[in-house]
Structure formats: structure tokens, C-alpha cells
Amino acid sequence: MGRASADRPPRRAALLMGPGTALITLTYVIPGLLILLYSFLSPKLGGGVRWDFSLDTYRALVAPDVRAALYNDYVTVLVRSVVWAGIATGVCLALALPVAVFIHARRSTTARYALLVAIMIPFWTSMLVRTYALRSLLSTTGVLNGVIERLFGDTIIFLSTPKAVILGLIYTALPFMILPVYAAVARVDPHLLEAGRDLGANPAQTFRRVFLPSIRAGTVTGCVLVFVLSVSQFIVPALLGGGKINMIANLIELQFGESFNWPLGAGLAIFFSALTLLGLRVVGRRTQEVELP
């Protein structure tokens, strides 16, 4: 395949690449550069920027010493976002594996398809609506607390706590883990598992040393998707966190809204994107076979 593509005339490659590249340039590269530019300008009351060069944004982001760094609001929120996205990724992986294996174990193709469609059905409803639904489900007078109260005689406050936000992250991202993991599970050669057993491995060993490595590509893909999706979540913390449990996207939005500090918002966005890209690069280096669907 490599040779075939090398033989193709460059013009054809340009034609094939052109529309996609143009779209990306228009909708991502140019706005990205604008954001970079904005981060070096000065804030203007009422929003927008004054065309005065300033490094204030980056001064606010870079703490003068370690102690200040620990108390830096941006660092607090950034660390929180990364930790929560990490938790969501771990839980999603733990939940997705059995589901994927279960779906794959169905004999009938119809049953498999039906289950896969069932996983995708939530995508037919807007995420905003689903998050509102989750909100009423989790409220103190909601269905979930109704059950809890009947069982234990007391209610649990979910809304406006990290519990609700992390639950929301997991709920939103779970399908993005199940689908690639399922695809990988479906591709595992059953003969390999048989061979493992024939060679004397017990079920746990077969799982850990044969099965898991075979689905590695799928799990890494799922983890990257879920992490990136969760770490940049805006709606979930905004609706389930009651405005007091914020993640990085909420902090950025605040700068473009009420705080009237577009340069700081732009700087936060740049800083955060750079960190995410760096993280992805590290993951990509360590696992050559990351496949993005």
C-alpha cells in the first residue's frame, strides 16, 4: 500500500486532500491562530480585545514559585479536570470491557446489532437534554433519591457535588469506550485463546496475557477518546455542578462571558490545548497502534 500511494501523481493527492485540508484550515487553523494572537492582547470592557501587546495572560498562568502554583486557581481547576477525566476513563474502561465481551458472545447477529444500536440510541437525543434529564434524576426529590430514601431512610445530595459531575462524565463518555473496545474484542482470534488454554494457562492468565494484549489497540483508542471528551467537558459541570464545581472549559467560558477577559480565555485555551496535544503525543509514542475511528 505504501508503494502504491508513492506512485500516485501528486496532483491527485492534492485533490484528495484539498477539501478536507481547506475545511480544517478554515475552521480550525485560522481560528486557532486568532486565539493565539488574542492571548497576547489586552482585555476590553464588554468583551473583545484592545490591540495593545501584553503578556499579562501568561503572567497570570505562570506562578512565580511552587507555593503560589499550588494556590493558583487555574492550576487547581486544571488538575481537577485531569483527575476527574482520568477517573471517568478508568470507570468507563472497567464498565465497557464486560459489556463488549457480553455483546460479542451473543450467537445471533441480530442480537449483537440490536445491542450495539441500543448503545448508540442515546446519541439521538441532544446531550444538553440528556444532561437536564440526569439533573432531575439526581435531584434531592428525584427518582434515584426516592429509591435511596425507601431503602435507607435518608437522601443523598448529588447535585452540585463532584459525585454528580463525575457520574455525568462517565454517563456521557461510556459509548465512546464501548464501541472501540467491542470492535477490538470482535477481532480477537478465538484460536489464540484456545492455544493459551492448551498451553496450560488458567482463565485468569489467558485473560491477562492473551486477551488483554489482543484488544490493546481498542482500549487505548477508547481511553484517548473518553479522556479528551471528559477533560474538556462544559455542559456536565455547568448543569450538574451547580456553578460551583467547575472544570477548565467553564473557566474559559467565564473569561469570554461575564469576566470580560478574552485574552485570558484565549491563553487558557492555548495552554490547555498544548497540554492535551502533548499528552496525546506521549500516548501515541508509547502505543504505535492507536487507531482513531
Binding site: 470592557l45 468583551g47 456553578g243 467547575n246 473557566l251 462571558g257 461575564e258 469576566s259 470580560f260
Partner: protein, 386 residues
């Protein structure tokens, strides 16, 4: 600043009688031919300038349609329908849920809107950016109906660019059945709050920090870093247990009884009271804010004349009554006052929402200048805290 869409729709039925009454008045006022009917309070000529005919201005100069940019759930749709029927102008209304959103849209240019209703400080920002068009008062004779107390305010001292639409306050809403003595101080929210896990604060940096500042004895617009440090300490404590910073859902939650104590807009307390008569409102003794939303026309408005005629139409007493019965704010229109229904007065007076001269002295307008950037910093420290 105000976003009530989540709750408004469920309250429509509660306002039934008031709306019906206002609609009857509207019918009475515009019965018969719209151009020949002589509506109350409208003069038909204004000396040397263009004559204004009836409530629809000069039909020759009216456009067929008007793009109106308004707060979500902030006008009775019957007003738009009445203007369309009487004057033949189809109004397309888009909505926003914050002043920042509206200012950003106008700042970007070519919004296509000919009329919007920003709050006081946002008017000031728009004026400072040269984004507004001076109003031609010759086309708005009903300006004579406007309460002089609500004119000439800090953001537009000569009312060159703006006229008041509705105003209201920010104070404390509470569920009266849970308080033996009605609260009269921010202390119930900030100090020894017995209902802390069923309390909420607005999602608005100026309102939240301002309330803490006045409670501590400072001015609502204080910019001194030490005062802000003190306010932040107080708020970080309160933040631990309140359900959150929320400017929309709390209204429904007040009505349902999930929230017992909330920093609230005055009109919003009224909306909650429609469904739950236990909801009451007070301007705490330390102080509250007053704010006013205003008609303004963007500098690049496609149909400024039609917008001015529509402003004049909304300053008609019967139309103004429709609006105020719906928003549960206060009308700046002196001719509207006597037309407001019993229902409206019951909600406003018995709910503690009405303001008299004594209360007015405790109310401050929020001013936003470059020096108020410290509010954003304090707010970040507050909402970023772990």
C-alpha cells in the same frame, strides 16, 4: 443576568386572569380601525417634525418586518402579535440569556437587529463603544409617560440612546413557612444559615460578591483588594454548603420548596410566588441592587424608524400593562401603574417585592468600569476553589 426560560413556561397558567384582563384592555384600546382610533396618551402631531399618526407612526416609513433581540421570556408574545396586527410589521424575536451574549453579538456587527433590551451597565458599555444610535424622540412621543425617576440615570444621563423598559431589584427570596421571623439581613444567608444546603446564590459575580461586600459593611461596587479578600473568605465558607450559583433553576426550586432561601431578582421571586404563596422577598437592611433594562437601537440597525415606532408602541399604557403583568418587574411608565391588575399587586405588594422610598434608599446601581476587573478575579478564586 436573568435567564428564566426554564421556569417561565410552567407558570403560564398561573398568570391566566392577569393576562386575560390585560388582553381585554388591549382589545378595548384598539377596537375599530387602528389608524382612526384615538388611543389614550398618544399625541398625533409633534410640531415641526414628522407627524406621528396613531400608534403605528407613518405607514410609508414602516418596514415590513423588525428583528428584535430580547431577553428570553421577557415579553408577552401578545405584544408582538398586537403590533403585527395593528401596524402590519412582523416581528422576529431572538433571545439572549445574558448581557454579555447580547453585547458580543452587537459588537461583532451586522447583527441585523434593530432593537434590543440590555441592562443599565451594558447600555453604558455599548455607548462607550459607539455601538448605539441616538433615539429620535420625535418618533417616540410616549416618552412623556415615562417616570422621570427612571430617566437620566448614570449610564445614559440625557437618555440620548436609551429609554427604560422594565426595572427590578436584587435581594433575598425566602420560603416564609420556614422562618419564624421574616429575615431582614443578608446574615441569614451568610452567617448561621440554618437552611444552607437548601440555599442558592445567583450565578453573577457582581451580585454575589456585591452582596457579601454590603453585608461586611462595604459598598456594593467596592474595589479595594482587602475588602475583596474579606468577601472571598466569607463566600468560600458559604460556598461549601449552598446548592450552587444559579440564576435560572432556583426560581422553579423556590416554587417547589426545594430551595428555601435564595439571592434573587425581585421579579423572579414574583414568578415563584405565583406557584407558591409561601415565597416572599425582602431587600435586606444592608442593601440590595436596583437595575433597569432599556430599549436601545444598534448603530447599524436596518430599520431604526420602525424600531422607534415599536418602542413608542410598547410605551402605550395598555401595552405596557401587558408587559409588566408578564414580567412581574416594575414599569417605568406612569400611565401603566393604574392599569395593573389586582393579581399583579397582590404578588408584588404581599410578596414584599414592591419598593417604597425607604427601601429605595438601600438600593444601589452596579457600575462596571475597568477598575471593577477585581470582581472577576475574586469570582474566579471563588468558583475555582476545590
Amino acid at each position: 443576568m436573568r435567564a428564566v426560560s426554564a421556569t417561565r413556561s410552567s407558570h403560564g397558567s398561573g398568570r391566566g386572569p392577569a393576562v386575560l384582563l390585560a388582553a381585554t384592555m388591549l382589545l378595548a384600546a384598539c377596537g375599530g380601525d387602528a389608524t382612526t382610533a384615538a388611543p389614550t396618551g398618544t399625541t398625533t402631531t409633534t410640531g415641526g417634525t414628522e407627524p406621528v399618526v396613531g400608534r403605528c407612526g407613518d405607514p410609508e416609513r414602516l418596514s415590513d418586518s423588525l428583528n428584535f433581540y430580547n431577553w428570553a421570556e421577557y415579553i408577552d408574545e401578545a405584544v408582538l402579535k398586537a403590533f403585527e396586527e395593528e401596524c402590519g410589521v412582523a416581528i422576529t424575536m431572538d433571545t439572549y440569556t445574558s448581557n454579555e451574549e447580547a453585547v458580543a453579538k452587537i459588537q461583532a456587527g451586522d447583527s441585523g437587529y434593530s432593537l434590543l433590551i440590555p441592562t443599565d451597565y451594558a447600555v453604558q458599555i455599548l455607548i462607550s463603544e459607539d455601538l448605539l444610535r441616538p433615539l429620535d424622540m420625535a418618533n417616540i412621543p410616549n416618552v412623556a409617560n415615562v417616570d422621570p425617576n427612571q430617566m437620566g440615570l448614570y449610564y445614559d444621563p440625557d437618555n440620548t440612546y436609551s429609554l427604560p423598559y422594565q426595572y427590578s431589584t436584587t435581594g433575598l427570596a425566602y420560603n416564609a413557612s420556614e422562618f419564624e421571623t421574616p429575615p431582614d439581613s443578608w446574615a441569614v444567608l451568610f452567617d448561621q444559615n440554618e437552611h444552607c444546603d437548601r440555599s442558592s446564590l445567583l450565578e453573577d459575580q457582581r451580585e454575589v460578591i456585591g452582596a457579601a461586600l454590603v453585608y461586611l459593611g462595604y459598598d456594593w461596587n467596592e474595589t479595594d483588594p482587602a475588602a475583596h479578600e474579606e468577601a472571598l473568605d466569607l463566600l468560600l465558607n458559604v460556598r461549601e454548603c449552598v446548592t450552587g450559583f444559579d440564576s435560572s433553576n432556583y426560581i422553579g426550586n423556590l416554587a417547589s420548596g426545594d430551595i428555601l432561601l435564595a439571592e434573587s431578582w425581585g421579579f423572579a421571586a414574583g414568578i415563584a410566588r405565583l406557584d407558591n404563596p409561601d415565597v416572599a422577598y425582602v431587600i435586606p437592611k444592608e442593601g440590595g441592587t436596583i437595575w433597569q433594562d432599556n430599549f436601545v437601537i444598534p448603530a447599524d440597525a436596518p430599520d431604526p424608524y420602525t424600531a422607534e415606532v415599536f418602542i413608542n408602541f410598547m410605551l402605550e399604557p395598555d401595552i405596557g400593562a401587558l408587559i409588566t403583568e408578564y414580567t412581574l418587574g416594575f414599569t417605568p411608565n406612569l400611565e401603566v401603574e393604574p392599569l395593573l391588575s389586582e393579581d399583579y399587586h397582590t404578588i408584588i405588594d404581599e410578596g414584599g417585592i414592591a419598593i417604597d422610598d425607604e427601601v429605595r434608599e438601600r438600593l444601589t446601581f452596579q457600575v462596571r468600569g475597568e477598575e471593577h476587573a477585581i470582581f472577576a478575579e475574586t469570582w474566579e478564586s471563588l468558583v475555582a476553589a476545590g
